[in-house]
């Protein structure tokens, strides 16, 4: 192993490869900032370039750089304009956008950058030490456990079920789950809820729904908000300020540590990935936070921003475990990476470490370098990027609308997406004014399809619902989900009773 590691070091630190890392993360970050161009499409664009390079290590280093650069950049639009361009940055917007609205955009971007850096780096360390052993862990999860994991992920909606909002949050979750059933499901050959519209056959696209649910209502809200201030959208002096106080650093450090670990292990599972990792990270951190911290979640908590950001970057790194050690792509993005590797005559799998140790190790080592480059590159740029929000709103809002429209159109090249975007956006805006939380709908939509697929598959494999108690790990995960939903309200109730008890007792 040590020999391979040294060879990897030598490979990773050649001039070309360092250049590739820097180039890859630069391209990834900047294109990733545009909503609609997620890591998958950026990597697809870069593949011909990577293949023409010819050397598999260099090509993979470039593509891996693009990958985590894009995840890194994706959080920018979530934070600044509430437009999550990829599913794994939806949770980032839960607290990132409120922070930006409070005029703390610079701080939010800094927390996101530092958390991403930590997540990516811790992920790379874990990948280096444990990758060969983790190959078996990746295969421990069957469809039944994936189903249970999605249920745990759904418990993230509890964060939006604040005072008096429980029924609204549940309604919106169900709406999201229903929207997720539009089109053809993996397990049923017949299209559902398409009303004969051909463009709905493959379902609503994530990006269109995310723009319609998050970015568009926010932009319209900025225009229509009856209480809006006449000047810009926040205190302009603070926007660029990226300082994190010592107390704040102390507050988020344990969150980042925990979520980097948890995110990495969720990323290792081929059917879960960065999106699930970010939702779970958010849900878990909210539930273990103290009462006063928990109430801040969803309203601009630094913890609520740090958790999904470290989790999704660690999960990206984790997803290289099944790719490199088993040759199984766990997501659309790693499937494209696998295609590129095969095109370069490298077959990932258990023999990769033996046959091509320099590829295996140089990619991992390049990840450290890449994450460092991302941090160094992003920190000085944050004041300038955050300044976007200081733009007067009569320029800012058209700008947001333009990016929203472009995001929905660009991935599919399909003008119908624009009609869907506007229709859904109007509906979402009405819901927004009626004080319905929109995040549960998007979570329901994202998790719904995977939830249904894995549930139906489990039912088929176990001839019924028996898997819920026949597989201990499934039972355990479902129990965890119940705890995550019940615990907060139970604790609140307990606190109320105790408070009343003291009052009555005297």
């Amino acid at each position: 192993m040590l020999e391979g590691l040294i060879e990897g070091l030598v490979t990773a630190f050649t001039f070309t490869n360092i250049l590739m890392v820097i180039g890859g993360v630069l391209i990834g970050t900047f294109i990733g900032m545009l909503p609609g161009l997620g890591p998958m499409s950026i990597i697809a664009i870069m593949i011909p370039v990577a293949i023409s390079i010819g050397d598999p290590s260099t090509a993979l280093i470039l593509l891996a750089g693009v990958y985590y650069g894009a995840i890194f950049g994706g959080s920018t639009s979530s934070i600044l304009i509430n437009a999550p361009g990829v599913a794994s940055t939806v949770a980032t917007s839960f607290d990132g956008y409120p922070l930006a609205r409070q005029g703390k955009a610079g701080k939010a971007l800094t927390v996101a950058a530092v958390s991403s850096f930590a997540g990516g780096t811790i992920g790379a360390v874990l990948l280096m030490i444990f990758a060969p052993m983790l190959a078996t862990v990746a295969l421990l999860f069957h469809s039944t456990e994936y189903f249970a994991l999605m249920v745990v992920g759904l418990s993230a909606i509890a964060a939006f079920a604040g005072t008096g909002q429980v029924s609204k949050a549940i309604m919106m979750t169900i709406l999201g789950l229903m929207l997720g059933t539009v089109g053809e499901a993996a397990l049923f050959p017949a299209p559902r809820f398409t009303f004969g519209v051909q463009d709905l056959q493959s379902g609503l696209s994530f990006i269109t729904l995310a723009m319609a649910m998050f970015a568009l209502p926010e932009a319209i809200y900025l225009v229509l908000d009856p209480n809006r201030s006449k000047t810009g959208s926040g205190g302009t002096s603070e926007i660029k300020d990226l300082r994190i106080t010592k107390a704040e650093a102390k507050e988020i450090a344990p969150v980042v540590g925990r979520q980097s670990l948890q995110g990495f292990f969720i990323g290792v599972l081929p059917g879960a990935g960065a999106t699930i990792a970010s939702f779970l990270g958010y849900a878990v951190e909210r539930n273990i936070a103290r009462k006063e911290d928990r109430d801040k979640f969803g309203k601009g908590a630094l913890k609520g921003l740090a958790a999904p950001e470290s989790a999704n970057n660690a999960a990206c790194t984790g997803s290289f475990v099944p790719l490199l050690t088993l040759g199984i792509p766990g997501s659309g993005t790693t499937a494209i990476l696998l295609g590129a590797l095969i095109a370069l005559n490298v077959s990932p799998g258990p023999r990769l470490m033996v046959d091509n140790p320099n590829i295996f190790w140089s990619v991992i080592i390049s990840m450290y370098l890449g994450n460092l480059v991302l941090l160094i590159l992003n920190l000085p740029l944050i004041p300038y990027i955050a300044k976007i929000l200081a733009v007067p709103r009569n320029y800012l809002i058209p700008f947001i609308l333009f990016f929203t429209m472009m995001g929905a159109y660009i991935g599919q090249n399909n003008a119908t997406e624009l009609l869907l975007l506007v229709g859904l956006g109007v509906a979402a805006t009405i819901l927004r004014f009626a004080n319905f939380p929109l995040a549960p709908a998007l979570i329901g939509f994202i998790l719904g399809r995977m939830l249904e697929d894995n549930f139906a598959r489990s039912m088929q494999l176990y001839d019924g619902i028996g898997f819920v108690w026949e597989r201990p790990m499934t039972t355990g995960l479902l129990f965890l989900a119940i705890v995550l939903v019940i615990l907060p309200s139970w604790r609140a109730r307990l606190a109320r009773i105790r408070a009343r008890g003291i009052a009555d007792g005297d």
Binding site: T16, I43, P189, Q198, I342, S347, R351, N414
Partner: protein, 328 residues
């Protein structure tokens, strides 16, 4: 070592790759067409996308066509692009649309409202065979073993695949079981939403066997992770001479997941001939060989009437099977 010298080459190669759609190259055979516009019914990075761009790259680099442009038009499982090509036929005589086996299946199930007969069939160019695969620790080593296990306990032997029930992977599994004398409707087919997920399901042990594309399984088979117990080609494949065919194991069936090109209806005969000439000329060029080898494609060339006959034959087989399976 190679690595130290390749900086400049890499940049040149990258530049060359970006200029694919540039002017005609000097080398190669004579130019047949000025320009082809490739219509891709799916998004960037998919199988259709790779086929169209790879073919365009080989044709331009070999100097057979002047330039190639590409357009991704996803939606409706490919139906949107087909509808577009039919509705705007006359302005699209310069367009070739890439497609594959699912056009036959989705037209039968009604996902796509038109079928291949509504288009001008140009040629099938490449293909992939299907394969049945088991995990490396599985006691099953051949189709006989699989069938014996299935006959002993049908509900325990589930076959997974990366397509919907009634989709390609399911149909292949059903075809194999039918040819082996079993009831194709009794097979427990477990659907996953992508080939990679289905492969993870096989390795994790939740399904007994996997129906998948041969090219998707061959790398893992070489790595010793899975065993390919049967491939749907007529003869053994050069890339994996140890893998037995279904036919030699007494299961009389074959299946090709083809990919090929279609043009707008009412295409002038001379234009069709030019397309077919260009594609035929492509096979002998080193540029095509490079693209083909890089992607691991198998040359399966069916031009003109052969392509029509091939599609009609495949449609007949799939239709009979789908009626039997209760999807039609």
């Amino acid at each position: 070592m190679k690595k130290t010298t390749f900086g400049r080459r890499a940049i040149l190669a990258a530049a060359a790759a970006l200029m694919v759609s540039g002017g005609p190259a000097l080398a190669g055979s004579h130019q047949v067409l000025d320009q082809i516009h490739f219509l891709i019914p799916g998004g960037a990075g998919g199988g259709w996308d790779g086929t169209a761009r790879g073919t365009g790259e080989a044709l331009t680099n070999a100097g057979i066509i002047g330039s190639a442009t590409y357009e991704n038009m996803s939606g409706g499982g490919g139906g949107k692009a087909i509808g577009y090509l039919i509705e705007n036929a006359e302005s699209n005589y310069d367009t070739l649309m890439v497609n594959s086996t699912p056009i036959v299946i989705r037209a039968l199930t009604g996902v796509i409202s038109q079928n291949f007969r509504d288009l001008t069939m140009v040629a099938g160019t490449i293909g992939d065979y299907a394969a049945l695969v088991v995990g490396k620790d599985s006691p099953i080593n051949s189709m006989d073993d699989l069938l014996a296990a299935y006959r002993a306990n049908p509900s325990e032997v589930s076959i997974g695949g990366g397509s919907v029930p009634g989709g390609m992977d399911h149909l292949v599994a059903a075809m194999v079981m039918q040819a082996a004398g079993e009831d194709p409707t009794a097979v427990k087919y477990v659907a996953y939403d992508a080939g990679g997920m289905a492969m993870a399901g096989l390795l994790s042990g939740e399904i007994a066997a996997l129906s998948t594309g041969f090219s998707e399984a061959v790398a893992l088979a070489e790595a010793g992770e899975v065993k390919i117990i049967g491939v749907t080609s007529d003869e053994r494949i050069d890339a994996a001479p140890d893998v037995p065919t279904m036919k030699e194991q007494g299961i009389d069936m074959d299946f090709v997941n083809w990919r090929g090109f279609f043009a707008a209806p009412g295409l002038p005969a001379e234009k069709l001939a030019a397309y077919q000439e260009a594609l035929t000329a492509m096979y002998d060029t080193p540029e095509w060989e490079e693209v083909r080898a890089r992607n691991g494609w198998v040359n399966i060339h069916n031009s003109g009437d052969d392509f029509v006959a091939f599609l009609e034959n495949q449609e007949g087989i799939i239709k009979d099977l789908m009626i039997k399976l209760g999807f039609l």
